[in-house]
Symmetry: C2
Subunit: 278 residues, 2 copies
């Protein structure tokens, strides 16, 4: 990605963390990052889309660190599990993710809401799987319940501890919660109490907005921008692209040819291939 764009994202990110999303004006981002309004709206279709980009960056970063932690360790290693959660929590705190997410959930913006929901869902799925890793296959039927409980307890405890201005080491809290889950497992299995069916997770997964959909939207926005500055020939090519990309079976070779004819448009190329190479 463009270095400049990256820089803008970093500036915006720190501003969002400092003052919140709504409270940060585009104007301020422009001034602090020294770009013009035109450039901003060239980079991002909207302020909202900028926030989404930032979310994605954070998410990728967390995922990377989390995989790193598990490297060479057994799946059933409790300490590795604790460390993994710690990573996530720390990233979340640093970036004030809770606040940002909440601010988004309020915004009643369907697109943003879906993204945050998906984020939570992914987290829950991951937790559920890891709980099975740790506690063994026999907790599987109750693993979604346990994941929901764990997630809720952990977040609320963290929330309270920051609100109450108490500083407890995160890993202590995580360990405590893991012990609680430990307490519950036998009784849940014995009483066969179940709240949520695990199949829910897979069902929900297909429901929520796919990343692919987002990518397509981004691509089309890019094309629109190019269209506004295009001459006759380019216009024809771009309009064809738009059409072809919407077809159920886009002809890759043709698209490639059109892209070549359009000249050096690296950004566009990346986006297009990201969408059609599936």
């Amino acid at each position: 990605m463009n270095d400049r764009k990256k820089h803008v994202m970093e500036i915006a990110h720190t501003l969002f963390v400092e003052k919140g999303f709504m409270e940060t004006s585009v104007q301020e981002i422009l001034e602090k990052s020294g770009i013009s309004k035109g450039t901003f709206y060239n980079y991002f279709p909207s302020k909202k889309e900028l926030l989404i980009n930032i979310f994605e960056k954070i998410q990728a970063e967390t995922e990377r660190r989390r995989i790193e932690v598990l490297a060479g360790k057994k799946k059933s290693d409790k300490n590795a599990f604790i460390k993994q959660i710690q990573v996530k929590m720390e990233v979340g705190m640093e970036n004030k993710l809770f606040a940002l997410f909440n601010s988004v959930l309020l915004s009643e913006d369907e697109e943003l809401k879906k993204i945050v929901q998906r984020y939570h869902l992914d987290e829950l799925k991951w937790l559920q799987q890891r709980i099975v890793d740790i506690f063994g296959q026999h907790v599987q039927p109750y693993s979604l319940d346990l994941a929901v409980l764990f997630y809720g307890m952990l977040h609320n405890a963290l929330h309270f501890s920051t609100n109450a201005d108490v500083k407890i080491e995160i890993d202590k809290i995580i360990t405590y919660m893991l012990n609680r889950i430990d307490n519950m497992v036998p009784s849940v299995i014995a009483s066969k109490e179940q709240l949520f069916d695990i199949q829910l997770l897979t069902r929900l997964n297909s429901k929520t907005l796919s990343k692919r959909r987002q990518k397509i939207e981004k691509l089309f926005h890019k094309i629109d921008i190019l269209l506004s500055n295009a001459n006759g020939k380019q216009k024809e090519l771009l309009l064809f692209l738009k059409e072809e990309l919407q077809s159920p079976v886009p002809r890759k070779a043709v698209i490639q040819a059109v892209l070549k004819e359009l000249g050096q448009k690296k950004d566009l190329e990346i986006l297009v291939f990201d969408v059609i190479e599936e």
Copy 2:
């Protein structure tokens, strides 16, 4: 309270629930409730203050219903406890309280944030006390922990069930959570694990913004409005009021005399007495 004002609050409330706080413009509230801008800003210092008023109304309502439920029952009655929580949850769902609260927590507005924090704190305190009522005095050292856990599990389960579009009866969820707490109690006591000190609650209590402070702000706003339309004599009286109310020991009789001299200003009188009768 003024019937008209009440009506505006109801309209605004449904709008906030339907579309969210930020997404509802003052303009729309004016149109739907058929009042003019001037009147609106006579009733409420700001859109934010209107939201606070609504919060307070909901809170009072919940409290009322909750006390009603316990009437004639023993404190240790588990079913009564479940019912009480259910009341709260139902009110919360009806009014989309979570969403509203979250939207507020994001807004980075210090005043609003304090109010929501206080709300959570009160809830936690209540829960902690009730947990002692139910499980007995010997859980007291761990009752704050248990309250935090219970609150977190319950809310996350509800959150998930609405997100996942699963309909489980609320009382079933509450019962399930209570069983989980049941599981934890012996092990927590045995291992003596403690996360938060109960004394935290009392310490926090004094920290958060008092209702009194809010009332005073409202009163002063009212006086300011009156001042803007006041003639010479009234101005003198009002300015005196303002001064006298800020003194550590306001002279009630004098204030009363001044109020009488000011003529029929029922709203003002109520506010004043609410503040000085302490």
